[in-house]
Symmetry: C2
Amino acid sequence: MVDQTGVEIISIGNELLNGRTVNTNLTLICKKLTISGVNVLRAYTVRDELKEIVDVLRFVLEQKTSSWIITSGGLGPTHDDITLQGVALALGRKISLNEKALEMIRGRNAELILTDARRKMAFLPEGATPLKNPVGMAPAVYLRESETNIICLPGVPQELEAIAEESVLPMIKRDAGDFFFVEGILWVQGLLEADLAPIILEVFRERPEVYIKSHPKGEEFGIELSLTVTTRHPDSSRELVSKSLDEISTRVLQASGSISSRRIVNHK
Amino acid sequence: MVDQTGVEIISIGNELLNGRTVNTNLTLICKKLTISGVNVLRAYTVRDELKEIVDVLRFVLEQKTSSWIITSGGLGPTHDDITLQGVALALGRKISLNEKALEMIRGRNAELILTDARRKMAFLPEGATPLKNPVGMAPAVYLRESETNIICLPGVPQELEAIAEESVLPMIKRDAGDFFFVEGILWVQGLLEADLAPIILEVFRERPEVYIKSHPKGEEFGIELSLTVTTRHPDSSRELVSKSLDEISTRVLQASGSISSRRIVNHK
């Protein structure tokens, strides 16, 4: 797992910390990266405040554990959309009108007047490249700081997803190379999680590259076990998961538990 | 807003960073705290790894910006449930069998054998107090480090919610004192977000204690504006929001937009 590409994600928006909005953007990005074999190491959620954005971005950059940082939110036209100011400040770069970004904004609807609020979305940190937003007005942004790639995505879910698919995932996958993520699922009944714990530990010790996570779903449903592995070869990922599934299944039956479902998920 | 109690939240679990699970626990805690007038300053999501838990918890403690830290996840019986080891390590405390926690676990079901996996959930950092889990087996944990209160909650949503209601919110509210959060909602049609941006800015400048956030919901639905304020008096919170709602409404109509709904939310 050591040489997998690492990503950290910074979600920006008061609505996430006020409990108004569930952060499905984070889940979506994490899922798409994980099934591409990319490792999301950590995530942060901060308020729409310049100091917050600057502090967290600097902190992540200083750690140097991730080759990619993705931010979401704060690219829109309102006064509290300040992600790009924050990024510029954190990197010690100026912010200036980017002609290509302005062209993208104009291209969305030629009849709209280029008010200050619309032009604002074209002010990018120096050295940044705008990424086309096929759904909304605000372009996404790519820039590189020393060894780290930084991507800023808008917070509107449909826009974030479209840009991730069209621009971001292809870039990160190219950088990451071919890794294959495989997940096996096992539903166990008749055992409590504490009874399953030593079984999981035994199987994990025999094959530590397969990560095993138990998700108890309440007595009537049982426990969902997720077995995941990422390797350079799809066949070996699949084989590793399959072996661990076998070994857990055998032990569950020996412990008088039962299995209602076993499958290997096809994530692509 | 300056003297509001600050909280930071650390969500622990690979499933959150693999995109398998949406972090509804975070949203739930944030919502309950916000409507109690408590300010959630920042949130972190980390993997089930000791170093990750230790690093992030130390980082938050060193910042000293929050008087409460809440963790969720990693209190269960499996080998990757290591939150309490992480907390102990971060604080330089030993971990030991807590008799009161053991009693709580035993009390859940006297017929269950106290296996190592069950006893594991009663190993708490020294000086910690177990909090009753009315739904599941693993007790939650409260401890204090210098000026900071730390709460560790289980990741199973029903358990987290029950403990939050029964133990955590009353503690934090007592510490925070009476603050009143009021939210006004305005649905605007016929204007794009970029056209609404200068209106929001004008009204915000006149009354900066009312935070105004726009949530564009697509052309057919329009834009949802959320106006929020927290003060020591419910009447003044309500009046501030009401005034800002008036001022935005007037300007939206002047700009040839329309308003389909206006209300003040009763969050309790």
